[in-house]
Amino acid sequence: MTNCDCLTAKDKQVVTTFWSKIASKADDIGADSLSRLVTVYPQTKTYFSHWKDTSATSPQVRKHGITVMGGVREAMGKINDLTGGLLTLSELHAFTLRVDPANFKLFTQCMLLVVAIMFPVDFTPEVHMALDKFMAALARALSEKYR
């Protein structure tokens, strides 16, 4: 098992500082992000076909967005060892949920957009880059157990 060292010390500092500014809005960010995901990328609804309502305004979709953002919050706390720290989540996604990893990137796109809208001044290009790198590292850690 290898740990991804792609996040520099500066990246981690930028990301954790920004997270401290946005953490109180994590639930809203998650709910909006997943709502946008199913709207902009309707193919992602296939993962939620067991729900009656998979529209953007569905309470289940929004609630699940909060759950996903909880995973991002957990990853923030384990930023120095994402692979080891997210092992359980990786196994869940690999063996039970079997989400195609391409969808992690789509969720990231939606999340970054929501964050840009909610924090237009703080979401500078430098913060954008560091957060994009962090989400890519998180996605890699989540995909660790896939094969």
Partner: protein
């Protein structure tokens, strides 16, 4: 070929007709160069791109960002970018993502999921415009498609 619904055309028309190209263009391109630094390879002659502090106020980058937005309706740019500048088409997706973020930042909550979806179909035309079709007729058709009427 991209097929837009009437609703999508209306949305795109509203966005682009009220867009401040002088502001959005530079912000989108400089964000792209900062977030995806490998895209800087195409701007070797544009002056100091050493770090974000140098990229943001760079007037050459700002001017080119404005040009990019105005250039969406010029089919001959397709040939220029593919055959002379050799720009990897994937880079246009990266620029599209940055453009979407800049527009969303300006519009705030008005940039809804429906608008985001319409913008995504619009921005997916960017790679096809600049690395467009094989024939000049198809190139013209594509350039007219992305002009909001």
């Amino acid at each position: 070929m991209v097929e837009w619904t009437d609703q999508e055309r209306s949305i795109l028309n509203a966005i682009f007709s009220s867009l401040d190209y002088e502001d959005v263009g530079p912000k989108a391109l400089s964000r792209c160069l900062i977030v995806y630094p490998w895209t800087q390879r195409y701007f070797a002659g544009f002056g100091n791109l050493y770090n974000p502090e140098a990229i943001k106020p760079n007037p050459n980058i700002a001017n080119h960002g404005i040009k990019v937005l105005h250039g969406l309706d010029r089919a001959e740019l397709s040939v220029l970018h593919s055959e002379k500048l050799h720009v990897d088409p994937d880079n246009f997706k990266l620029l599209s993502d940055c453009l979407t973020i800049v527009i969303a930042t300006k519009m705030g909550n008005a940039f809804t999921g429906v608008i985001q979806a319409a913008s995504r179909s619009s921005c997916s035309v960017l790679p096809r415009t600049f690395h467009g079709a094989r024939t000049s007729v198809e190139k013209r058709l594509r350039s007219f498609e992305i002009m909001a009427h």
